[in-house]
């Protein structure tokens, strides 16, 4: 027995050493990190006074930009506050945040999803109101809608960024075929026909496999031109228009007309497939949103242009989906409410808007500060705010509170319209039926 024990000694010893090594290697590293950062911040205040705020977010793609550019700018002005950006994977964010909030371990600053997800957090008392935060007057009502109570009386997140929908196109292909970006829907179809006749490139690059592109980059992209943006969106909520009205059927019908221009086998083309096809130069036009700009600038080796959804013939006003996407709020249970409010106030500033807009081209600040955007593509998208009427996706506010929820239904219906498995008329009727099932103002 003792022999066996003796044999175990070196193993146990090694294991202990390993454990000890792990323990030791973690602690000093953290210390040096802090020391290094303190130095670079130029703060000469003792680190004892420093307050650390944790920021929850789903934008893990932006980690480097937050850590290297945005937060250092804040730390420089507020050496006594340290903000740490702690992102979670986008599709896990909501569930993880919920769990952390109810367990009392969530960060001090919360990145807010638009509309009901955040409204629920506010109603449950997890988000503190920011209505009276200095600087909030930089945001107009549309910008605040996504993070305000239904009656608009309380706002609980500072609007941070919106994304604008439109079309990207491959300038090289347009030059080769001698075509110009279309200004009306008729021209749009002519352009598509020209590309299709040439036969070398897919006229429109999109697939329906993931379903959301069909709704988000398809229907919600061109739809506002049909339902007149905010007018139609509000009319749906009030119940004065219904989803089977002609303008919605027409929007679905226009979407259905895309199917002959999509790449072969588009039914099984996924979102990454479409991204790759376009950036590899195999397609001419890519229905999209401005969030794609940063990635595409990196991947595409041809020049890109952008045009807003072309309005139907005879319509002078154009409408763009300028969708409120990201806000930032304060955990009601934070131990440092003052510091958190200081940070939130900073996010309403022109300085933050400028930094954010240029470091993350395609995510546009919603404050009314005059921001100089450098990226030409982002600039193009942003210019549509002046030329066209802005609106948001019609399924996001209130209309997705019941079963079936409109957003998920529109994914399915838009994908099916493109796949040709249901008629536009039928799709509109289905959406209306879904609303009537639970939404009182639509029950007539």
């Amino acid at each position: 027995m003792s022999k066996r024990l003796r044999r175990l000694v070196p193993i146990t010893g090694a294991a202990l050493l390993l454990l000890a090594a792990c323990g030791e290697s973690v602690d000093p590293r953290e210390n040096t990190d802090n020391a290094g950062d303190d130095g670079s911040d130029g703060s000469d205040g003792g680190s004892g006074d420093q307050v650390t705020l944790l920021m929850e977010s789903w934008r893990n793609d932006d980690l480097a930009i937050w850590e290297d550019v945005i937060l250092p700018a804040f730390h420089e002005q507020h050496p006594d506050i340290r903000v740490e950006f702690r992102p979670t994977a986008p599709d896990e964010y909501d569930a993880a945040l919920d769990a952390k909030l109810s367990g009392g371990t969530a960060g001090d600053l919360i990145t807010c999803r638009p509309f009901d997800v955040s409204l629920r957090l506010y109603d449950e008392g997890h988000l503190a109101p920011v209505t009276d935060l200095p600087g909030m007057d930089a945001f107009d009502d549309i910008a605040r809608t996504a993070w305000s109570t239904d009656d608009g009386s309380e706002t609980y997140c500072v609007p941070m960024a919106s994304v604008i929908h439109g079309f990207l196109y491959n300038k090289a292909i347009f030059d080769e075929l001698g075509i110009e970006p279309p200004e009306t829907e008729e021209q749009f179809h002519e352009v598509l026909d020209t590309i299709a006749q040439n036969g070398e490139y897919a006229p429109l690059v999109m697939g329906t496999a993931d379903q959301w592109e069909a709704a988000t980059m398809g229907l919600q992209n061109i739809g506002p031109n049909y339902w007149k943006g905010e007018t139609g969106r509000k009319a749906l909520i009030e119940g004065s228009e219904s989803f089977d009205d002609p303008q919605y059927v027409d929007a679905f019908a226009e979407l259905a007309s895309w199917s002959e221009y999509l790449p072969d086998g588009y039914e099984s083309i996924t979102y990454p497939d479409a991204q790759n096809m376009f950036t590899l130069g195999r397609g001419a036009i890519y229905p999209t949103g401005s969030w794609e700009i940063a990635l595409f600038n990196e991947q595409a080796d041809f020049e890109m242009g952008a045009f807003p959804p072309p309005p139907p013939e005879g319509q002078d006003t154009c409408y763009v989906s300028d969708h409120t996407d990201i806000g930032v709020g304060m955990n009601a249970a934070t131990e440092h409410p003052e510091a958190a409010r200081t940070f939130l106030e900073w996010t309403t500033s022109a300085e933050f808007a400028e930094l954010y807009a240029n470091e993350l081209p395609g995510f546009f600040p919603m404050s009314d500060h005059d921001v100089e955007v450098q990226d030409p593509l982002a600039k193009e998208f942003l210019s549509w705010r002046d030329e066209c009427e802005s609106t948001i996706r019609n399924s996001y506010q209130i209309l997705s509170r019941g079963e079936p929820n409109l957003e998920n239904q529109l994914w399915d219906l838009s994908a099916q319209v493109l796949n040709g498995t249901i008629e536009p008329q039928q799709a509109a009727a289905e959406a209306q039926k879904g609303l009537e099932r639970w939404y009182e103002p639509q029950q007539k």
Binding site: V117, T208, P263, E267, T270, D273, A415
Partner: protein, 324 residues
């Protein structure tokens, strides 16, 4: 086995056969009074497994059954009895989604049953055939997919049959008519090694005397296989089928990897796992419900239980096992 059980005296039926068996070996027959002493070391051996199984399997299962009888109310939960089940089976939206998922799941299983079993059997028969060169290599190659991650399998097949990057022009994964069967066949491709190896193990354990005797009796290769070998394989066919059934009814990963939680197009590839996922965790703007999710999970459990019972009483008790 049944003989062993019969030999136990009636008053001892309550004690486990394992205990009796162990006694018979460990204790000399000369000391009958010690026979009935409770063997504490048995508990010591059973305890770790029982504890882990209870904490990680039995308790979560029971708690999920409990949860299915509750509904959320003012931040807490109230007991509602079988209301969730009634709602699941009568609500027009939920019920149609549920039955669609059940049906798709059965189709998913049927493809496995009718494709995986025959091909697995064929491969096993070829491997067990006489004088096959490189048998071990074939075996390893055929078994490798089983060891791959589902994510890799899904990703590779998606590329292979992609109309843009692959060499199949038909969007197999994009059409309601083909998506589910395509996914099921991917899964068959991945797991074909399991039935193959199980069938193979039985085939090589069949003594040569039997096949030789059949040949002497004038049977050819074909009838030797069907009349002699196949009956010996039947119990394994049953085991493979029931294991496949349980795995298929719990399936989720491949479909989630390839088609996402919406299991499109138009829920054509939605099986109970993905339906459960959406119900429990919610999806995009749809809020999740842990209680309704638990109800769906309970229904899955009941369906699996029903299938397994059917196997035990309808198949395993009837099929004849031979001791070789």
């Amino acid at each position: 086995m049944s003989r062993l059980r019969d030999s136990v005296p009636p008053d001892e039926v309550g004690t486990t056969t394992v205990a009796t068996g162990a006694d018979a070996v460990a204790t000399p027959p000369a000391a009958p009074p010690r026979r009935r002493r409770f063997r504490t070391h048995l508990l010591v051996f059973i305890a770790p497994a029982a504890a882990i199984y209870t904490v990680f399997m039995v308790y979560p299962l029971l708690d999920s059954l409990r949860l299915s009888m509750f509904a959320p109310s003012d931040g807490g939960q109230v007991f509602v009895g079988f209301d969730n089940f009634v709602h699941l089976l009568t609500d027009d939206l939920l019920a149609s989604a549920f039955w669609n998922a059940v049906w798709n799941n059965l189709v998913f299983f049927a493809v496995h049953f009718f494709v995986q079993n025959p091909i697995g059997l064929l491969l096993a028969a070829l491997l067990a055939g006489p004088a096959l060169k490189g048998r071990a290599t074939y075996q390893a190659l055929l078994f490798i997919p089983t060891t791959l991650s589902v994510v890799i399998v899904g990703f590779i097949w998606q590329l292979i049959i992609s109309p843009i990057w692959g060499f199949v022009d038909t969007p197999l994964l994009g059409q309601s008519s083909t998506a589910l069967v395509t996914l099921a066949l991917m899964s068959v491709w991945q797991y074909i090694g399991i039935p193959m190896i199980l069938f193979y193990a039985v085939l090589i354990s069949i003594p040569d005397e039997l096949t030789e005797a059949a040949r002497v009796d004038g049977a050819g290769g074909w009838s030797t296989f069907w009349r002699v070998k196949f009956p010996l394989l039947l119990p394994t066919v049953g085991v493979v089928s029931v294991v496949t059934y349980v795995a298929n009814m719990n399936a989720f990963d491949l479909i989630y990897t390839v088609k996402g939680a919406l299991a499109g197009p138009d829920f054509a590839s939605d099986i109970m796992g993905t339906f459960f996922f959406r119900t429990f965790f919610g999806f995009q703007l749809q809020e999740g419900s842990s209680t309704m999710g638990a109800t769906v999970a309970t229904m899955m459990f009941l369906l699996i239980l029903a299938g397994v019972l059917l196997y035990f009483y309808g198949w395993q008790r009837r099929v004849e096992s031979y001791q070789l």
